[in-house]
Symmetry: C2
Amino acid sequence: MTTARRSDTTRAAILEAARERFAADGYERATIRAIARDAGIDPSMVMRYYGNKEGLFAAASEIDLALPTLGALPSKHIGAVLVNHFLDRWERDDVLTGLLRVGVTNEAGAARMQAIFGAQLGPVTLGVCPRPEEAPARAALVASQILGMALARYVLRLPPAVEMSRDEVVAWLAPTVQRYLTAETP
Amino acid sequence: MTTARRSDTTRAAILEAARERFAADGYERATIRAIARDAGIDPSMVMRYYGNKEGLFAAASEIDLALPTLGALPSKHIGAVLVNHFLDRWERDDVLTGLLRVGVTNEAGAARMQAIFGAQLGPVTLGVCPRPEEAPARAALVASQILGMALARYVLRLPPAVEMSRDEVVAWLAPTVQRYLTAETP
DNA sequence: CCGATCGGTCAACGCTTGTTGGCCTACGCT
DNA sequence: AGCGTAGGCCAACAAGCGTTGACCGATCGG
C-alpha cells in the first residue's frame, strides 16, 4: 500500500472541483484556471499532479457504475431495478453528467464512455438475455434509453422530462429496458 | 419577397461550413476562423453577415423537422413511421447532430433544442395520445428514446449501436415509441 | 460615365487558454 | 539542529480566440 501523502487533500480538492466543472461546462469551457480557483490552489499544481488537462479528465472521470448482478433476482423486475439504479447513480454525484457532457464533444471522452458502458453494462446483459451473441446490441439499446433520459432530464433539461417524478420515469422506462434485455428479437 | 443579393452564395457557403463544423466539433471548437477557411473567405465576413458567433449558430441551426401528421395513418404504425422519419432526418444533413453537440455544452443550444422539440414534436403527440394533458410528458419520453439512440449511434458511436442495421433499430425502437405515445399511463 | 454601394481582404486589438520553470517555504527524517 | 525534499505560488510564454475598423476593387443604377 502507498503511504498517505501530505498533498492528498489538495489532490482530492482538485478532483472534486474538476468533476463539478466538467459536469457543468463540458471539456473546453472547464478551464484549468477555473478548476484551480475552485480548489483554492494555483493552476500549476493541477499540471504537477495530473500532467495535463487530458490526464485530469481521465482521473476525474473514473467511475464504477456498481451495477447489481441481475441474475439473482426475479427476472420480471430487472428493468425497474436497472432504471432505478441508474437514476441513483446519476443523482448521487456529477461524474456521469460530466462524462456525458465531455463525451459529446471530445474524442477521448467518447472513448471513455464506450469503454465504461461496454465493460460494465455488457457483462450484465450477457447474464440475462436469450442469445449471448445479441448481448452487445441489447446493451446498446438499454444504454440508448438510459442515456437519452439522462440527456433530456439532467443535461438539456427539457421541462416535461424534469417535471416527471422519479416514479413516473421508472414506470415508463422499466418496461422498455426490460424488453430490450429479455424479449425475443423482434 | 427580397431580391437575390450578389453575396448569397457566400452566405450559403458560410452556413454550410458552419453546420459541418458545429456538427463535428461542438460550439467552442468550431472556430469562426476554421469555418471561414472552409468557406474560402475571410473571418470578418462571418461577422458582417451574422453579427457574431451566437448569431451564426442561430442561423445554422434553424431546422424544420417536417414531422408527418400522424392522425391520417393507421395508429398501429405511428411508432415505426416516426422512428424512420427521425433516422432520415438525422442522416440527411448534420443540423441535428450539430444541435445535439452544441445543446449539451451551450445554454443557447439547449434552449434551441427545447424550443424545436417542444414546438414540433409536442403538437404531433397531442393528436394521438389518450389524454391531452399528458402530451408534453409523452413527447419528452419519445424525445428521450430518439435522442438517446442518435447519441449512441451518431455522436458517441458506440460500436454495437453503429453496427445495427437501420431495420433492426426501427424494429426495436418502434414499439417503444408507440407505447410512449398511445399506451395507457402505466 | 461617374459615383455610391456592395463584396471582400488585411492587419491588428485585447483577452483567455494550456503549459512551463524558477523560486520560496515548511515539514520530516536522522 | 540541519538538510533534503515535497508542497505551493508567481510570472511569463506562445498560441489561439472573437471581434473591429480601415481599406480596396468591382458592380451597377442614374
